[in-house]
Symmetry: C2
Subunit: 212 residues, 2 copies
């Protein structure tokens, strides 16, 4: 009648995930430099050399965090969006998935966007990811313009508009992080209203879809 006594030794794959969990938590709390490898190891319930053995030095570890969180985010969104839908519907779906993800992975979001964008070795990588996203959105907008039957807009105009869209999403992601109580879906609705209709219509009381 001895409980199987959970093994003190765990397989590598499991430990790696525990380490990444701990690292994301600590990086997001302290910031890249202030975070110490010792604290990360402690949080992971393991000793420091194991972290080095499995995930390498601090920089590599941070990149691993970035990569995991970034991939998770992209997949969460990609899973939901279906091509060949009208643009507003695609936006709506993508945004719901995005805010839901941020709401459920605050620390990951913080590492990705609050930390990495400033710290020099990583800023470039995040900028690249963001750039790809902006171009995807710009492409979407381009197709939408064609569909409505207009002359093709200048690429710079579309890219700038995509920049703005992505910016709104990032900013409202902070809103989601700060307002724990509010349903991410409500935030997605707010964004759709704002972005799709514009301030002019909005101030006049119109809405793309009611907020709640």
């Amino acid at each position: 009648m001895s409980t199987p006594a959970i093994p003190r030794r765990l397989p590598r794959a499991v430990r790696e995930q525990q380490m990444l969990d701990a690292a994301v938590r600590v990086f997001s709390r302290r910031g890249y430099h202030a975070a110490s490898m010792d604290e990360i190891a402690e949080q992971a319930g393991i000793s420091k050399p194991m972290v080095y053995a499995y995930l390498g030095a601090k920089e590599e570890l941070f990149v691993a965090c970035l990569h995991r969180e970034g991939t998770r985010l992209m997949e969460a969104v990609a899973r939901i969006v279906e091509p060949d839908l009208p643009v507003d519907e695609q936006l709506w779906r993508g945004l719901r998935a995005f805010f839901a993800f941020v709401g459920a992975h605050r620390d990951g979001w913080s590492v990705l966007y609050r930390q990495a964008r400033g710290q020099e070795p990583f800023a470039a990588e995040v900028a690249a990811m963001r750039g790809r996203l902006v171009e995807i959105v710009a492409g979407l907008l381009g197709r939408a313009v064609e569909a409505v039957g207009h002359r093709a807009a200048r690429p710079a105009d579309l890219t700038a508009m995509a920049y703005a869209l992505v910016g709104v999403a990032e900013s409202l992601a902070d809103w989601v992080v700060e307002h724990t109580d509010e349903d991410p879906e409500v935030t997605a609705t707010r964004m759709m209203n704002f972005v799709w209709l514009g301030a002019d219509d909005l101030l006049r009381g119109r809405s793309w879809r009611p907020v709640s």
Copy 2:
């Protein structure tokens, strides 16, 4: 006929500005932690103990940078905006001033927004500044809604909308930083079009004001 031989010793006020200039440059390039006091001193053309004598330890120095750049930005915008103008006109003026400032002070913007928001001792202060700005914008929107003669909107709705607006501005500030060649005024126009009209109208070819 001896040129007055610029004095090697300079008054405190001048040195302090040189130091802050150097600090902003180095902080923006390297990030808070990676920036070394030695490099800042060297960039300022002075030795390290002088920096400590005039502006204190690293944290105090960074706060001083934050404060100077933040104040400059606020003043640049406040100087332009006049109350009692219609909301869209106020937005337009404020945005022109904002993007012009960012275009002329890239490093300052980077320190303020890319660095400070992640680094723990400072994140709170920046968040507070940003929060005040959001509330100002929200107040503006509230007055606009009343002016159009609607029932007062819920505060949370206005604040969220202000969040989104500020987010667009921040994001397009990055656009300005990256596209050195483009006139900041063009960026301000892009933002007005996007924010005021919304994607729906915009994709159909309408515009608040042509881009160029």
